[in-house]
C-alpha cells in the first residue's frame, strides 16, 4: 500500500463527497433506508476501495482479491455507491436500491451482486465469517498469506453476543490478516449507544481479547491509511481499528443525531429542515461543501 500525498488526499476527499451525494440520491429514490451510517462511513469506504484494497472491478470474483465483509448490512448504500463509483456497475443502477428485481437489495444478498462476500443485515455475524475465511486461507496458504480480510462493523452490533464469540476465536487463532474496523458513531436505532447499552471502555475490551487496538478519526485519510498499514505490520494478532465517525457526516442537519439512523431524506426528524426539503438540502450542502463553494445550480 502506497503512502498518501496531498494530491491523493484531495482526490479521495472529492470522491467521498461524490459518494455521499450518490447515497443521498439513492435513498431519496428508494424512499426508505439508512442515512447516518452510510454518510459517516463514506471516507473509510473511499479509502478502502480507492487506495487500500487489492480488488478488480472488472473481475469482481478475482480469486486473489482482498475480502471485504460488511457485517452491518444496513449501511449498504455506502457499499453500493462506492462499488458503482469504482466501476463495478453503472451509477444509474444505484436508483434501483430496494426496488423489486434489483441487485441492490435493502440488505445485501451475495448471490444478487458479485463481490458481495456475504449476505448481511442480521447483526453480529460478519466478524465470525471473517474469522472463518481467514482460517481457511491460512490452511491453504500458511501464516504468511498476503490476502487481507477487512471486516466492517457497527458499534451498535457489538451488543450481539455472537460478535464476541468471533472476537475470542480471532484472538485465539492469532489471525494477523484480519483488519476489522468499527464505525464508532455512538448511535443506534433507538438512541445513543452509551444510553442503550454502554460499550465503553471499548478499546480495553478488545485488548483483553488479545487484539491489536487503534483509535482513529474516521474522516482523516492519513489516519485511516496509517492505521490499516500498522494493522498489517502487526505480527501474530488480529487488528481492530475503532474509527470515531460522525453519523450523517457532510449533512449538517443529520450529523450526530441518532434520529437519522434509520430514515432516508424526506422521512427524518423535521425540527431543523422540513421533510419535503430534506433531500434537496442534503444534496445542496454536499455539492457546496456546506456553503464553502457556490453550487453550479445557483
Amino acid at each position: 500500500m502506497q503512502s498518501l500525498n496531498d494530491e491523493k488526499i484531495k482526490w479521495l476527499t472529492e470522491k467521498a463527497n461524490e459518494i455521499r451525494q450518490s447515497i443521498i440520491e439513492m435513498l431519496i429514490e428508494a424512499g426508505s433506508g439508512h442515512s447516518a451510517g452510510p454518510l459517516g462511513m463514506a471516507d473509510i469506504f473511499t479509502a478502502l476501495f480507492f487506495h487500500i484494497m487489492k480488488h478488480d472491478p472488472t473481475n469482481p470474483l478475482w480469486a486473489e482479491r482482498d475480502r471485504l465483509i460488511l457485517s452491518n448490512g444496513h449501511i449498504c448504500p455506502v457499499l453500493y455507491a462506492t462499488m458503482a463509483h469504482s466501476g463495478y456497475f453503472p451509477l444509474e443502477e444505484l436508483k434501483t436500491l430496494r426496488k423489486f428485481g434489483s441487485r441492490l437489495q435493502g440488505h445485501p444478498h451475495r448471490e444478487y451482486l458479485p463481490f458481495i462476500e456475504t449476505s448481511s443485515g442480521p447483526l453480529g455475524l460478519g466478524l465470525s465469517q471473517t474469522v472463518g475465511m481467514c482460517l481457511a486461507d491460512r490452511i491453504d496458504h500458511g501464516k504468511y498469506s498476503n490476502k487481507q480480510f477487512y471486516c466492517l462493523l457497527s458499534d451498535g452490533e457489538l451488543e450481539e453476543g455472537n460478535t464476541w464469540e468471533g472476537v475470542m476465536l480471532g484472538g485465539k487463532e492469532r489471525l494477523q490478516n484480519i483488519t476489522a474496523i468499527i464505525d464508532r458513531n455512538n448511535i443506534q436505532i433507538e438512541g445513543y449507544t452509551e444510553d442503550i447499552m454502554p460499550l465503553e471502555p471499548l478499546a480495553d475490551k478488545w485488548k483483553a481479547f488479545n487484539w491489536h487496538v487503534q483509535m482513529i478519526d474516521g474522516h482523516n485519510f492519513d489516519q485511516i491509511v496509517g492505521a490499516v498499514g500498522e494493522a498489517q505490520a502487526v505480527f501474530d494478532k488480529p487488528s481492530i481499528i475503532i474509527a470515531n465517525t460522525i453519523p450523517g457526516k457532510g449533512v449538517s442537519f443529520m450529523e450526530r443525531r441518532w434520529q437519522w439512523h434509520g430514515n432516508p431524506p424526506g422521512k427524518g426528524p423535521e425540527d431543523v429542515v422540513p421533510k419535503e426539503r430534506q433531500g434537496k438540502e442534503a444534496i445542496k450542502e454536499l455539492r457546496t461543501l456546506g456553503g464553502k463553494i457556490k453550487s453550479e445550480h445557483e
Binding site: H109, R110, E111, E117, T118, S119, S120, G121, P122, L125, S128, Q129, T130, V131, G132, M133, C134, L135, A136, D137, I139, D140, G161, N162, E165, G166, M168, L169, K172
Partner: protein
C-alpha cells in the same frame, strides 16, 4: 419380509443383534470423506468425542477447529470457511446446533447458499438421563423449513457413515441428525444409499394393507412391528426415509396408492416433523388415512431410552396400535 435386494442385516431380529451408536458412523464416515478430499474441515463446540469428531481431529489436526462452547460462532465461522472453498462439517448436540443457532444457519448458510454441514448429535428423546434440556425433538422442523437445506436422518451407524461420505460431495447446505444410544444395525456395507431416495426395507409377499414410513433410530422398531403383523397375516410394508429433504415424493405416493393407509414413525415432535412432511405430500397428491407416531406436544425428561420411548408413545406396541387404528379408518 426383508427386502433382499438391499442386502440388509438378516440378523436384525435376533436377540443378540449388533448395536452401534448412529453417531459413530458419522465419525468413521468423516475420516473417509476427509481422506478423499483435502477441503473437508471439522469444527466442533467442545463436544469432539461426544459427537465422534475426535477420529477426524486426531488424524487431521491442521484441518480441525475447536471453537469452544459457542454454537453461534461454530456455524458462522464455518460459513466463512465455505466461502473460501472449504467443506466444513460442524458438530455439536442437536439441541444447541441447530437448536441455538437457527438464525445464523438461516442467514449465513441457507440464505447465502454456502455448503456447510450441521451435524446434530444426541437428537431425539433417547438421549435419556440428561433430561429434557438435552433432548432435541424439534430439530427436523427447524431445518426442513429452510430453503436450500438438505435434511438427512440415518437409520443406523452404517447408513450414517455412507450419508456422511455422500454429503461431503454435494453442494447443498446439509443437516444430519444423529442419535446417541446404541441402535440396531439394519443395513450392511453393501446396502445402497442415495440422498433423496427412500428404500423399501420390509415388504410382505401380498399387497400391503398399511404402509409405514419411518426415519432415524426408530426404523428398526417399525420393521419389528411389521414382522409381528406378518406373523398374524396382516401385511405391512416399511419404507426407510433417511432423506427428509429432498423427500422422495414418488415412493411415498406409490406406497399410499398401494396400501391405502400410512403410519409415520419418528423420534421427534409430530408438529412440523418428518410425519408432517409426509402428510404435506399426501394431502396434495394422494390423500389416505394417516397416523403419526412421535412426541405429542411435550418436552422430554430423564429416564432410560426405553422408558422414555414407551412413556412418549414411540415403542413397538404404539406403532402396532397406530397400524391397527389406521386400518380401521380405511
Amino acid at each position: 419380509m426383508l427386502n433382499t435386494n438391499l442386502k440388509l442385516n438378516t440378523k436384525m431380529f435376533d436377540a443378540d443383534m449388533e448395536q452401534v451408536p448412529i453417531r459413530k458412523g458419522f465419525g468413521e464416515g468423516l475420516v473417509i470423506a476427509a481422506d478423499r478430499d483435502k477441503n473437508v474441515i471439522g469444527l466442533c463446540a467442545d463436544l469432539t468425542e461426544s459427537t465422534q469428531m475426535h477420529f477426524f481431529a486426531k488424524k487431521y489436526p491442521e484441518r480441525f477447529v475447536q471453537v469452544g462452547v459457542a454454537e453461534q460462532n461454530l456455524v458462522t465461522v464455518a460459513s466463512g470457511m465455505a466461502a473460501m472453498g472449504k467443506i466444513p462439517f460442524t458438530s455439536s448436540y442437536a439441541m444447541f446446533s441447530p437448536g441455538r443457532n437457527w438464525e445464523q444457519i438461516r442467514t449465513t448458510i441457507c440464505y447465502n447458499d454456502r455448503k456447510v454441514v450441521i451435524v446434530g448429535s444426541h437428537a431425539g428423546i433417547s438421549v435419556g438421563p440428561d433430561g429434557g434440556t438435552h433432548q432435541a425433538i424439534e430439530d427436523i422442523a427447524l431445518m426442513r423449513v429452510l430453503p436450500n437445506m438438505t435434511v438427512i436422518s440415518p437409520c443406523d451407524a452404517i447408513e450414517a457413515k455412507k450419508a456422511t461420505i455422500a454429503i461431503a460431495k454435494t453442494k447443498e447446505p446439509t443437516y444430519i441428525r444423529l442419535a446417541r444410544e446404541k441402535t440396531p444395525i439394519i443395513t450392511s456395507e453393501d446396502t445402497p444409499f442415495e440422498i433423496g431416495k427412500a428404500q423399501v426395507f420390509f415388504a410382505p409377499p401380498m399387497t400391503p394393507q398399511v404402509g409405514i414410513v419411518a426415519t432415524g433410530a426408530l426404523v428398526h422398531k417399525a420393521i419389528v412391528a411389521a414382522q409381528n403383523f406378518a406373523e398374524k397375516g396382516i401385511s405391512v410394508k416399511v419404507l426407510n426415509i433417511s432423506s427428509i429433504r429432498p423427500l422422495d415424493f414418488e415412493a411415498i405416493i406409490n406406497l399410499a396408492k398401494e396400501a391405502g393407509a400410512i403410519v409415520s414413525v419418528e423420534e421427534h415432535q409430530i408438529v412440523g416433523g418428518f410425519g408432517s412432511a409426509v402428510a404435506e405430500v399426501l394431502v396434495q397428491n394422494y390423500p389416505v388415512p394417516m397416523e403419526l407416531i412421535g412426541v405429542h406436544d411435550k418436552f422430554g425428561q430423564s429416564g432410560t431410552p426405553d422408558e422414555l420411548l414407551e412413556h412418549y408413545h414411540m415403542g413397538i406396541s404404539h406403532i402396532e396400535k397406530a397400524v391397527e387404528k389406521v386400518l380401521g379408518r380405511k
